[in-house]
Amino acid sequence: MELTLWTYEGPPHVGAMRIAASMEGVHYVLHAPQGDTYADLLFTMIERRDKRPPVTYTTFQARDLGGDTAELVKRSIADAVARFEPEALLVGESCTAELIQDQPGALAAGMGFGALPIVNLELPAYSKKENWGAAETFYQLVRTLLKPQLPAPGTPKPDTARWRAEGRRPRVNLLGPSLLGFRCRDDIREITQLLGSYGIDVSVVAPLGARPADLQRIPTADANVCLYPEVAATLCSWLERQFGMACVRTVPIGIGATVAFLREVHSVLGLELPAELQPGVDGVCEAERRSRLPWYSRSVDSTYLTGKRVFVFGDATHAIAAARIASRELGFQVVGLGSYSREMARELRAAAAELGVEPLISDDYLAVEAAIAEAAPELVLGTQMERHSAKRLGIPCAVISTPLHVQDVPARYAPQMGFEGANVIFDSWVHPLMMGLEEHLIGMFRHDFEFVDGHRSHLGDGAPAAPSEPALAPVSAGAAGLIWSPEGEAELAKIPFFVRGKVRKNTETYARERGLAVIDSEALYEAKAHFSRN
């Protein structure tokens, strides 16, 4: 049993709904009590979908439990098949139905629907979560649909360069984009255009917008692109094992990753690497000019971004990508990296180790908020929940990951992937911060009376107070009996508000280690020198 006030991921059957609702021609019969129909609003309200998700709920009640709930399941399945005439049927149960063990999938299989592909979803609600449910559903659905095409054991792998012999352009599938995923709609367009510009076609995009018949065309492509590993990794590995399909695993978020992605695609397909993707003498390739991010980041106004302390949290794919962009492409200092995706904890730990920070794998938002407060960053890149936490802490924040909020489905084109995605990322991460010249001016005039602490004129959320900071007193008692002299306090007050809490704590730690009773400005500078050496 686990106390949860808020959760980053829904239950696994919501993941299954994401697959069904993303597609055309698929229907999902869910054995579930009436309250579970709330999940429809995730699609109709957050995604502003103009149709109900293709889900039929059995909505059993307590009085049904004494009788024959299996009969209710069969009735619901028969009604749904007759009414919606699906091309593929998903059958599963939510947490409560799992306990009564009616086995709806087995019931459906025995109902004589002939050639209708039926997928029996077993998604353990008491141990797994939404993204796992989405990945499992996507995998099971494709597996069911591709069963007739399974190559005999020992069949040689298809040649990924066979497009040449067949006299056509190479083609790949984009796997993983789904409803309630982060900016999938726009990422697909961006990546399709990008690949097209290198003469590579996109064959199947799935699950978003695909029909069951499209999934049956998956093996006709030369390779798969695992665009969103949280949803597609299980399937891509299976296609690799069973169909020998090569898989491109670099996720093209950020300049470096987009170029690496393109190089991987070229190499997998046996395409010659075009000149613009080859590293130049300075390691820079021409293709990066397709985005403004590299130049904007090099331009002088961006020098103020140097070393900005950034805390990153989200699903593993977006968090890892964000940390890489932040540290390498924007020159930030990543002071925290975490994810709620336990399934990808290994990848996230590796990324954290590379950056020299402690990885945080947690789905407790209060633990994440505490870690943010502790790290005292100047910018948070997180989910909508971190946006709220950051607001409470008075720190600017940009949202980089699901869980989805209605704000994360913008009307405009705003991909995260590819070169345009990098432009979007530059704007949306940098705008919450003060612009370079503005910060410079405020630095110059900060002792003028007009500029109170924390003044950030263009940020709508008001001047924040530094978190957990006691009001300034002439002589104040620090933690564990330490005394700050008035002059020490005055010096501390000159330090920018967003790091002041951290400096105060470091200085007190230093003072305790040295056995200092009173902290004056000298002690503060001693501590500063001490910690900067580490």
Binding site: P33, Q34, M45, D64
Partner: protein, 422 residues
């Protein structure tokens, strides 16, 4: 403008009884307004990740630094052995109380999975009461979707409080059902003016300050979904005042007048206090009536407020009722409302959402009252909608709020009329 509501005939065709897929929230959703009413209480759902996800999706939980509700999510190990589940619950409650020392009342809220595995939360509450005696009161009720819909959760929560109410035979008016604080103050002020001195509310604003109940108590229901609460209070000696519910000018006036009559207050005194309000309320209502009159309304079952709202919107706003759905029909608690519905009003009880949507498409009403899952799809089909969940969050009770209540329904129509992309 004087209102001349059509005479009610009381002759309603038999309600359409349907069973099939229901598209309603479960009783856990009531926590969203109950926790605001009693800030010293905490609502701990004992359930699954689905329960946690439901409440946060319905309530926009992210705005709270630390909400006063949460879910004890059952894991596989809890399902394997119930003894462990009880130990786990004890551990978790201790942890919660340590973190939130301001909690005075802890509601253990049963869910679908906790009911199916027969986790006895009444026993758990007893045990936890012994463990934390003197510091917190632990209660339990069920908000499970297999037993309750949406607003019935409040009925369960209030019933859990009733055994703790002190006994008293003093004369008093007891209003049952959550009201917005400002509306409550206003209504109590009016009852004082009418001459009713002692007025108490259930739920109270502080969970520890429960009103008394006994033979002198006259019970007035502010919400139409409190069947169990009404029965339990009558069992404690209270006398139920029969009245329509306080929605709209007419309903609110009749509601207050019924209370006044129960206290033997002269009709002249009632008229002296309420008539000016009625006149003002009707004036405020007039512009909304202009938007709503003649428009056709279809209410899907959801909040259990559908019948009183239909009565208000037809009699005072001139809307035409196409179908009035209700999750369940409690004829006793709805008797006064049903009498006021225009002759021929088609009620439906229960739900078969697919069939009902076919009727909606066939009838093409001007406005559909429905849940959040259905609103955008119906808008996309060209019908204006009003989300029923807004009705349980907004201050809509009383004569002074009648125009605001009507405005909630007029706004979608005005908005449709205002938009143009030509």
């Amino acid at each position: 403008m004087a209102l001349s509501p059509p005479p009610a005939s009381g002759a309603l065709p038999p309600p359409l009884k349907e069973s099939g897929q229901r598209e309603v929230f479960c009783g856990l959703t009531s926590i969203v307004w109950l926790h605001r009413r009693m800030p010293d209480a905490f609502f701990l759902v004992v359930g699954s990740r689905t329960c946690a996800h439901l409440i946060q999706s319905a309530a926009g939980v992210m705005i709270f630094a630390e909400p006063r509700f949460g879910t004890a999510i059952l894991g596989e190990r809890d399902l394997a052995g119930l003894a462990d589940a009880n130990e786990e619950l004890d551990r978790l409650v201790a942890q919660l109380l340590e973190r939130r020392p301001e909690i005075r009342t802890l509601f253990l809220v049963g869910s679908c999975p906790s009911e199916v595995i027969k986790l006895d939360l009444a026993k758990a509450a007893e045990r936890l009461n012994r463990q934390h005696a003197g510091r917190v009161m632990v209660l339990n009720y069920s908000g499970s979707g297999i037993e309750t819909t949406f607003t019935q959760g409040e009925d369960g929560a209030l019933q859990a409080l009733i055994p703790l109410m002190p006994a008293s035979s003093e004369q008093q008016l007891l209003i049952a059902g959550t009201l917005a604080d400002a509306v409550e103050d206003r209504l109590i002020g009016l009852f004082h003016k009418l001459g009713i001195e002692r007025v108490a509310s259930l739920p109270p604003r502080r969970s520890t300050e429960l009103p008394a109940v006994g033979p002198g108590t006259k019970l007035l229901l502010a919400q139409p979904f409190l069947s169990g609460t009404a029965r339990a209070l009558v069992d404690r000696g209270a006398e139920l005042i029969r009245a329509p519910y306080p929605f709209g000018v007419e309903g609110s006036r009749d509601w207050m007048a019924a209370a006044a009559a129960a206290f033997g207050i002269a009709p002249a005194q009632v008229a002296a206090v309420l008539d000016p309000l009625v006149e003002r309320g009707q004036r405020a209502l007039a512009p909304q009536r202009e938007t709503l009159a003649g428009k056709r309304l279809f209410l899907l079952p959801d909040s259990q407020l559908e019948i009183p709202l239909a009565r208000f919107l037809s009699r005072e706003c001139g809307m035409e009722l196409v179908e009035v759905g209700t999750p369940y029909l409690d004829r006793q608690l709805m008797a006064e409302e049903l009498e006021l519905l225009p002759a021929g009003t088609q009620l439906s009880e229960g739900q078969h959402v697919e069939n009902q949507l076919l009727r909606v498409r066939e009838q093409r009403p001007d406005l559909v009252v429905c849940g959040l899952g259905l609103a955008n799809p119906l808008e996309a089909e060209g019908m204006a909608t009003k989300w029923s969940i807004e009705l349980v969050f907004s201050p809509i009770h009383g004569i002074d709020q009648a125009a605001d209540l009507a405005e909630l329904f007029a706004r979608p129509l005005r908005r449709r009329a205002a938009l143009s992309f030509a």
